[in-house]
Amino acid sequence: MTSAWRRRHHRKGYLYVLPALLLFGFMVVYPIVRSFYLSFFDYSILEPDSARFVGIQNYANLVTKTPNHRPLWNTLYFTLVFVPPYVTLSLLLAVMLNAVRKGSVLLRTMIFTPIVVSLAVSSVMWLLFYDAKFGMAQETFKYVAEQIDRVWGLVGGGTLLKAPEAGMLGDPNWAMIAVAIMCFWNGVAMNIILYLVGLQRIPDELYEAARVDGANPWKRFLHITLPLLRPTIYLVVLLSLIGAFKIFGQPFIMTGGGPRDSTLTFVMRLYNLAFRYGKFQLGYASALAYSLAVVIFVATIFLRRLNRPVE
């Protein structure tokens, strides 16, 4: 085959990548660039002509304007209460599921089912489940709290735990935790599946050898499973963290940010600024979106460093 033919052949590659790239450029690259540009303007879609260049003012507002602080803390709080149990309990469940030989299809179906229910439907479902008057979660909470208090009372203690009168979602101290529990229920299957894939790549011989050497299950987990699962753990932690930073739909549907702004998250603030407060502050909202991108970028770099194998 001649080189001219070769060149002509390889040039056909453009034809194949072009349709996707055109669409990608139109609906992804352009909006990304446009948002970046707008993030330096005081710009509202209501008065596009009065856009005013403000430099990094929108970004500075993130630190200086108090209405932005609560959403930042709330999102951080959500990340702290959600991510640690999310990545560890799902690992525990995955290791257990991996060890079960018989009847695992039934178990997997039961444990994985919530993943197919969209986050919006799950949120409405759990809104009912948490209801202060008839919700099952509320009743369970009350029952557990009573039992704990009864036992605690036997040794002369007072009230330890009390189910909030207004339901978990109606109580500023509990609302975010309630949202986190729902997110856990809805998403835990994804982590378990990722872990299972990693676990199945660990050769059985290693466990056999360790067993012959007399290592107990805990030692086997510590010295074989954990080190060999490291890339998967890294992936799960990263995806969970990013998901937590971006949390929006679940609290938006279940509480709308309340009570008393206790579940107002960062992306919800962005959404409110752009579409809810009636001012369509698209420049300001764009700056918030890019701040989120920076946080995610930094977290990724940081985790990647942690994941670097120890020499």
């Binding site: 609906m27 879609i45 919530p114 890019y290």
Partner: protein
């Protein structure tokens, strides 16, 4: 030793069964509640074995004063189909939401798979001048969350008259799904040996035939994984569907259910229970039937990431 292992695996199974049970209880609770009238739910009678006093209710579902009920002890009931009758009769929205969501998820998945694997083939098997550059451009965007495209896309929706159009959401979803598919499928296609491609070309196959008759069949596992991930992604999507639509006829199921909850959550919980049930039941049935393929597909996708 063998006995010990057996008892421990039974314990393990029981623990996991308990976890699974608590996991599915909310579904059964919703199912039970959907057969109860509003006042029974608020009276805490939700499980099928709990009976409630039948009350006459007005149009909005509020119990009428007692004098309207004929004498004698009030009849008791366990379950009623009333909610479903009302939901089917009054809420014409639900089928529309379903149709929109399925249409978007299915058409979106096919379109993204087609365009994405075309591009993946181009990137994997052709050495054109801008190959490296264009691919790097794609990689640059992978770290950015979808939220940074929100504002720009919102403007585009108005500029191109795509606001309140299913077409607008479709374009946004397809564009948003392409990246992952191009990544996964480029890796899959790259593992297909050059010799195989060359042999086909020498036999006179066109590049299109190589793509359609060689690449696609060999890459079908990767494609299946991409299909599941894309479908779930679109099925779940809330932020864009909420932002780019305002009319009832273009709403997706997530946004529709959210709106319905706001409409009658307070006055008729029974109907809300029934609506929620109808919005998760079909997909759960599909999932339970296809569970095996679903998990292996997702796992294959996870392997590639």
């Amino acid at each position: 030793m063998a006995v010990e292992r057996k008892t421990s695996s039974v314990t393990l199974w029981l623990i996991l069964f308990a976890v699974g049970l608590t996991n599915v209880i909310p579904f059964f609770w919703i199912l039970s509640g959907s057969f109860k009238p509003h006042y029974a739910i608020h009276g805490g009678k939700i499980w099928p074995w709990q009976s409630y006093e039948v009350k006459k209710v007005d149009e909005e579902g509020k119990p009428l004063p007692l004098e309207n009920v004929a004498g004698g002890p009030a009849p008791r009931e366990y379950n009623t189909l009333e909610n479903y009758k009302k939901v089917v009769g009054q809420l014409a929205g639900l089928p529309t939401y379903y149709f929109n969501t399925f249409y978007l998820a299915i058409a979106g998945t096919f379109l993204s798979l087609f365009l994405g694997s075309l591009a993946a083939y181009g990137f994997a098997k052709f050495k054109f001048a801008a190959n490296r550059f264009l691919f790097m451009l794609l990689i640059l965007t992978i770290m950015l969350p979808a939220e940074v495209t929100l504002i720009g896309r919102y403007e585009l929706m108005f500029q191109f008259r795509l606001y309140d159009r299913i077409m607008g959401l479709l374009i946004a979803y397809v564009a948003g799904s392409l990246l992952l598919i191009i990544f996964i499928m480029r890796n899959v296609f790259a593992t297909i040996p050059e010799d195989l491609v060359d042999a086909a070309m020498i036999d006179g196959a066109s590049t299109w035939q190589v793509f359609w008759e060689l690449m696609i069949p060999i890459g079908r596992n990767g494609l299946a994984a991409c299909a599941i991930l894309t479908f779930l992604g679109i099925w779940n999507e809330f932020l864009f569907a909420l932002t780019f639509t305002s009319l009832d006829k273009v709403r997706t199921l997530p946004v529709g259910v959210f709106m319905l909850q706001g409409q009658f959550g307070l006055f008729n919980s029974g109907m809300l229970f029934a609506t929620v049930l109808l919005s998760f039941l079909p997909i759960i049935i599909v999932f339970v039937l296809l569970q095996r393929y679903f998990v292996s597909g997702l796992s294959a996708g996870a392997l590639k990431q």
